[in-house]
C-alpha cells in the first residue's frame, strides 16, 4: 500500500476513535440520550469499508458504525458534525434528532441508516441492490452485520436471494467474537461465519479486521468484484470490540490484553507507517487534529437546538397529516 493511502486511513481511524471516545465521555456525563454502543477497537474494519464506498453506493450501518457514518458524512457531504448532532438528538442531526444513534441516515452520503432490529436490513439491502441492477447502475449495496446478527433467519433469506439474483451486495460481517455476552463459537455452528455463507456459492473471504492494509485491500477487491457484475460477496472481518457488555468486562484477561494492546489497529498501523519512514510527530499531529475536529463536533452538537416540536408528528405519512397533541 502507498504511504499516503495508509496515512489517510490512519487519519480515518483516528477520526473514529476520537469520535467514539468523546462520545463515551459525553454519554457518561449524561449529555447523550438513549443507549450507547461504540466501534472502539474496530477502526480498521470501519475505515477500510468507508474508504471504498462511494456516495452513490449504499451501506446499512449497524449499532457500532458511528465511525463509518461520520467518515461518509464528512467525505461525501462535508458535515460529519451532523452525525454527532444526531446522537445528541438535535435539530442539526442528519435526521433532525428523530433517529439517534441507532437510526442515523443520509442517503446522499450512501448511509441508509441502521435498523435497530438487528439484521432486518439483511433483507432491505436486497431491494437497494436490485434497484441498482434493474437500473444498470454499478452501485454496491453493503450490509454491515455483526457476528451475533447472523443468528437471524434473514441471513439465510438474504444470502439465498442475493445468490439466485446475482445481486450487487457486499455482506460485511464484523465478527468481533461476541454478541453482547454470547461468544461467536457458542452462538453459531461455527466461529467462522464464512462457513455458514459458503453454501450459497458466491465469493467469500476472511480478513484480519484490525490490519488496515489487509482489510483495505480485501474490501477493495470485494467491491471491485461486485461492481464488475459478479454478484454478491461475503467478507468476514475478524476483530474485537473494546466495549464489553454495557459496563462490565467479561472476557478472558489474555484475550483483552491481546486485542487492546498487541493487536490494536491504530497501533499496528502506526508501526507500519513508522517503518515506512513517517515521522512520529506527524502521526501524533494526525491524532491531535482529528481529536480537535471531534471536539468541535461535540460543541456543535451541544450548542444545537432541540428539534422543533412539530417534528414529532411530521412525516408519519406522506399523504396525511397526524394531529399534534
Amino acid at each position: 500500500m502507498e504511504r499516503d493511502t495508509l496515512l489517510g486511513l490512519y487519519s480515518d481511524m483516528w477520526l473514529i476513535r476520537a469520535f467514539e471516545q468523546a462520545l463515551e465521555r459525553e454519554f457518561e456525563q449524561g449529555n447523550v440520550p438513549g443507549m450507547l454502543h461504540t466501534g472502539l477497537g474496530q477502526e480498521a474494519t470501519q475505515a477500510a469499508l468507508a474508504s471504498h464506498l462511494k456516495a452513490t453506493d449504499c451501506f446499512f450501518p449497524d449499532h457500532r458504525c458511528h465511525g463509518i457514518n461520520a467518515l461518509a458524512q464528512q467525505r461525501h457531504r462535508g458535515n460529519g458534525e451532523r452525525i454527532m448532532a444526531e446522537l445528541f438528538g438535535k435539530a442539526t442531526g442528519v435526521c433532525s434528532g428523530k433517529g439517534g444513534s441507532l437510526h442515523s441516515a443520509d442517503p446522499a452520503a450512501g448511509n441508509f441508516g441502521d435498523n435497530a432490529v438487528e439484521g432486518s436490513y439483511m433483507a432491505t439491502v436486497l431491494g437497494v441492490a436490485l434497484a441498482s441492477q434493474l437500473r444498470g447502475q454499478p452501485n454496491v449495496a453493503c450490509a454491515i452485520i455483526g457476528d451475533g446478527t447472523v443468528g437471524r433467519g434473514e441471513f439465510h433469506e438474504s444470502l439465498n436471494m442475493a445468490a439466485i439474483w446475482n445481486l450487487p451486495v457486499l455482506y460485511a460481517c464484523v465478527n468481533n467474537g461476541y454478541a453482547i455476552s454470547m461468544p461467536v463459537g457458542q452462538g453459531h455452528a461455527s466461529a467462522d461465519i464464512i462457513d455458514l455463507a459458503k453454501g450459497y456459492g458466491f465469493a467469500c473471504d476472511q480478513v484480519d479486521g484490525n490490519d488496515i492494509v489487509a482489510a483495505h485491500t480485501k474490501v477493495g477487491a470485494a467491491i471491485e468484484h461486485i461492481r464488475q457484475g459478479n454478484g454478491p460477496y461475503f467478507l468476514e472481518f475478524k476483530t474485537w470490540r473494546w466495549q464489553g457488555i454495557f459496563a462490565g468486562e467479561f472476557r478472558p484477561e489474555a484475550e483483552v490484553k491481546y486485542w487492546r494492546e498487541d493487536h490494536d489497529p491504530i497501533l499496528m498501523a502506526n508501526e507500519v507507517l513508522q517503518s515506512m519512514g513517517v515521522d512520529i510527530a506527524k502521526l501524533n499531529a494526525t491524532e491531535q487534529s482529528q481529536r480537535n475536529m471531534i471536539e468541535e463536533w461535540i460543541a456543535f452538537a451541544k450548542e444545537s437546538p432541540s428539534p422543533d416540536l412539530a417534528k414529532a408528528t411530521a412525516n408519519v405519512y406522506v399523504s396525511w397529516e397526524v394531529a399534534p397533541k
Binding site: 428523530k98 441508516g113 432486518s120 436490513y121 431491494g127 436490485l130 439466485i164
Partner: protein
Amino acid sequence: MSDSTTLADPAKPAKKPRKTSFTKALNDALDIGMERFPEMFLIGEDIGEMGGDFAVTKNLWAKYGAARVRDTPLSEAAIIGTCVGAAMVGMRPVAEIMFADFLGECYDQIVNNAAKVHYMFDGQFTAPLVIRTACGGGFGGGPHHSQSVEGWFLNVPGIVIVAPSNPADAKGLLLASIESDDPVLFLEHKALYRTRGDVAEGYYTTPLGKAAIAREGTDITVVATMRMVPMALAAADELEAEGISVEVIDLRTIRPYDAETILESVAKTGRAVVANEAPKIGGLGAELSARIHEECFYDLKAPVGRVDGLDTPIPFSVPLEHEILPDQTNIVSAIRVTIEAGR
C-alpha cells in the same frame, strides 16, 4: 364504480364500464400500473409464469418479463425487505404475499421498516410499496389460510390499509395504492375474487382514505369492509321491506380511515352498526365503535352494534367456520337490536 372515484388522468380517460371480475380488475390495475410507472415491479411467490395463486398477475410475466415480474422463493421477510429497500431508492414495488396469514413472517419488515423509514429518517426516505395479499375466510381454508389481518396492523402508524369490496374500487384503489408514496397493505378478500361488477376500462384511481356511501339510508348507518359490504347491502335490501332504511358505508381504506363520512352519516341517522370479519376483541369494529360513540355521543339513539367474527381461530370444518364468521343474518339482527334499542 363508486361515486367518489376520481378520473385522475384526463389525457387517458376511462372508457365506459363493463362487467369484470374482481380478479380481472386487479389484474388490469397492475397491467396499467406497469405501463405507466417504469419504476414499478411485481414480486412474490409464483406470480410469474403461473400468474399468482389467484391469477391476479396473469399474463403480466409474459408481457413485462421476468425482471419486472419476479418470482421468489418462500422468503416472505426477504420479499418485503426487498420492497422496502427498492422503494427507499424510488422504485414502486408491488408484492404479493400469497395468503395474508403469512404476513406474520414479514411483520417486522412491515411494522418496523416500511411503516417507519419515512418518519425515523426525518422524511429522507419514502416507502412507496404495495403489499397485496389474499385474506378472509369462508372456503374451508382452515386456521392458516383464512384470517382477516387488518387487526394486526391497526395500531401501526405509518402503514396504510386498503380493503376494496367490489371490482371497480379494487382497480381504482390498487392504482391509487401504487401511486401513493406511503406503504400500503392491500387486502383482497378471497370470497370477492370471483364477484363481478362494472369496471371502467383504462386508467383511473379511487382515492385512499375516503369511504364510499354504498347505499343511502336514513334510519341507521352500517359501516362495513370487504365481504361485509355486499352482506350489508343484502341486509339493507332485506330490511327495506320492513321499512327500515339503512345507509351502508364501505370503508375502503381502513387506516387512516375516513371518520368524516362515518360521523356525518351517524349524525344523520343516529344509529350505527360496524361490520368486520375479524374477531371482535381489539378489532377494527372496536376503533370505529369507540370513535362513533365518542364523537356522536349526543346524537346517538342507541349504542353502536358490532358485528364481527367470534373470538376464535378459524376452524377447518365448514359448519364450524360458518359458526364463527359473521354473515348477513348477524348484520340484520344487529340492525334490529340497534333500531329497537334506544332512548
